[in-house]
Subunit: 543 residues, 2 copies
Amino acid sequence: MSTNKSGIGRREFLTSIGKAVGGSAMLRATVAMGLGTTAASCGSASATASPNVVVPPPPSSGLLSPRPGDWPAGIGNGRSVVILGAGIAGMSAALEMTRLGYACTILEARATAGGRVRTLRSGDTLDEIDSTQTCQFDIDDDLYFNAGPSRIAHHHEFLLGYCREFGVQLETFTNDNRGAWLHSPAAFSGQPQVARRIIADTRGGIAELLSTAVNQNALDGELTATDKINLLAMLQQYGDLNASNRYAGTSRAGFPGQQNAGSRQRGDLLTPRELQQLISDFFWELRLSFSQGFEQQPVMLQPVGGMDRIVEAFEAQVANDIIYQAIVTEIRKTGTGARIVYSNSAGSLATIDADYCIATIPAPVLANIANDFSAAHQAEISGFQYSSAVRIAFQSPRFWEREHNIYGGITWTEQDITQIWYPNYGFHKPDGIILSAYVFGGTAGDAFSNMAPQTRLDTALQQGSSVHPQLAGQAQHGISVAWQKVPFQRGAWGISNPSVLLTADDSIFFAGEHLSILQGWQEGAILSAYAAIDGIVDRDLAP
Amino acid sequence: MSTNKSGIGRREFLTSIGKAVGGSAMLRATVAMGLGTTAASCGSASATASPNVVVPPPPSSGLLSPRPGDWPAGIGNGRSVVILGAGIAGMSAALEMTRLGYACTILEARATAGGRVRTLRSGDTLDEIDSTQTCQFDIDDDLYFNAGPSRIAHHHEFLLGYCREFGVQLETFTNDNRGAWLHSPAAFSGQPQVARRIIADTRGGIAELLSTAVNQNALDGELTATDKINLLAMLQQYGDLNASNRYAGTSRAGFPGQQNAGSRQRGDLLTPRELQQLISDFFWELRLSFSQGFEQQPVMLQPVGGMDRIVEAFEAQVANDIIYQAIVTEIRKTGTGARIVYSNSAGSLATIDADYCIATIPAPVLANIANDFSAAHQAEISGFQYSSAVRIAFQSPRFWEREHNIYGGITWTEQDITQIWYPNYGFHKPDGIILSAYVFGGTAGDAFSNMAPQTRLDTALQQGSSVHPQLAGQAQHGISVAWQKVPFQRGAWGISNPSVLLTADDSIFFAGEHLSILQGWQEGAILSAYAAIDGIVDRDLAP
């Protein structure tokens, strides 16, 4: 079994976030938040862990999280709310509460909205706490880098509903391309393997072994005579076994000497990789299960032109409610509501009072703002853990298309850089933006976060060149983001199990992706906003 | 095992086309044509059959099919060729031969180029031998219907190379969407199953059974103690088994009561479908293997705006060489070349002489043209079998997106309509074009071909409504194509094994998708053109 550090780190991390949120007192809250047994964060490896920890279903089997339409029209008339943060959670909260009649004000620390939903293009700057980078990409509609969320699952119904409502044009995102590669320095002489070959050989190996067991009558306790016949036929198809139920290679794996170009000589098949080798390193197994996860579908969606098209669309709805460059310095309870003190764009302190506050500020930032929180709330905020995530992107001629017939998708490597993403758009243009590293969690995530930007680029190119030697000579205009070091964020996504923060502290409610079942996903941010709205509406409905 | 007629029909058909092309005399020709052991036609089910019939590799292991660059510059100067048919085979032949100096003339029976590569839009007419339909779709860039080829594999390097050269904009085509459905009237009370659930449960069932066999020491002859440990760990991941190596459901399958909407209550898991049921009907097995095939990748490519963008791009290159509405009536040998007699656009007979002829006319049409072919060539032409294929498309509000979160991809049903395709473009627009039936081969293919157009529409809606009840009320502007009945085509793609036609008959060469390893694919048409060019160049190089 692999002892790769970052791999194990991710596994442990995933197990931890997969834990059920327990406690009967929390049940209503967890159900309202959509929190259940199988939280899945946006780190790509999360899909590989889905621990079967099952809590009892809630009493009402039809119980769903709150959603627009649940709340009475006009319930907010004459009431006010101040929302901290103009990310997806804050803007969706403001949008829906404005529709209910609440007077909404959003305080946003930066000069632009969107939070971690950021798309970098030519000339954009990326501030970290100890560095500033400027994006040097050429100017082109297809030369952009989604530094934060980059994909949308087809079942993220609320986010997709807003895209429909706002007219945000979508296109498919290739999350699992079998023409992309798997690479382990320790296996196959370090040569990258086209994913389909590993997939086909694994299926073949499994099918052959199970067929052998069936034919040895080893499973007669489990299978009837008819089952056995059916299963053998099925396995032949599943693994592409020959008439003797043996796996002797398959066209599914591709053909010799051609890598990803397939139209020509097909006189023989690739020699199968031994199952023994494929199971000896957990790397192969994880990658085979990656796109099985509910959040990580093989095909996903993305806005045409960059994820921040969604931000722009939300912003167009609520821009009048946003105060930009408003850095919150105090969060206070007044007895009848909340009072927020903030530093405004002129550098002066200002104060705003409201009946309610929804704080979507990420916990690592919120923990350092003066406040009147209860001890329990303050403790959970202070202890809330976030994943690291570092992404490193370069502009490069599209050698992956021209030389390897890779059109989008992800190559996995067992090196720290973890993933290489190819653009799913602008095919055949001269250049594209290649995400040459996506490192999250574990010691590797910390190490990359702590590197100076230039060191990140150098390391990404050094490791990436063992997968794509072309990178060293062709990649240019590199830029990176380490979310742990980005002001007003200080982390990529929440990984602690929320508990106290799912309940309001006096008139202060909490929201943000970290307080949802979908940590790290935009859909989670929206779910958390709906839960906060629901809590406020409940108050206003109370006799 | 299912005895579904059309299913079995497809299986037999696929086995037949999977046969190796044998005979040592044919070896050079088959290799030159790229013909080998694993022909794969464009019918979606073809990917499910990849018989492991392996012929010995050719003597030279590096032997590839011919390609541009293989032929000496200027070899065609002063020589002429007449090409019959302005489909992809004919136009790619003309393009490359013009570059070599040959004087090329293409005779095209229709008033437009492209052959079976057709995209229907508002106002277009579709002629069959006994009917004419007019496309009634509304006018919109995203309301089109690819009546012929619809997808491109990433390894179809020559076709993609032309797209790059011509600037044909590409986007992804979702061939396998796990949020789409599988439907058998005989299973699960006829309720469609979200594909991911069947996939997850099958993996779980297989992994549990194999784990059981391993734990019963049934495979100790095959596995070392270390292998067993590794395999059990791997299977846990592969099937998402619990700590006891049992499959008890998985979040990968989705969640109860939500079908394709997934963000809310996740308190429990779906009850697994019994493996026993899933292996009792070959339908489920076939569909699980569909996108494993080398030609049928889960994610493929398509031109933005319709497949005929490729036709337009080719046509822009060779338009000056094309004589439209030129219906060939005689193909003659002159001793020094070929003489073609054709009916021109004015209805008069005309004659053209050339040093060579390349006949890309589909065999069912070619068989009825007066000619001087050898008996062997004539016999193979007359006996060449083609698959049927019927496609039926409607304009409809996008209920599949709005109500079911299906964004592109294919739903499979065990009914004759076989497949339902959702558009992979124009997401969230009010309407889209849904391909509500794709029937190919077997008795079902013949039956649908022989229906009057209105009957096809009625039948597609009747069967389709058992999958999507919305179709009955919302689908409109239906149009169908039955390639067997389209003039100058009379079939969807060749399924016989070519033999004699791989060699020239005097100065007459043959090309077309049916004479390639990739029957039914545009890439195959190009490969066949290259093989014909290679044969002609060989003649001109001979001392």
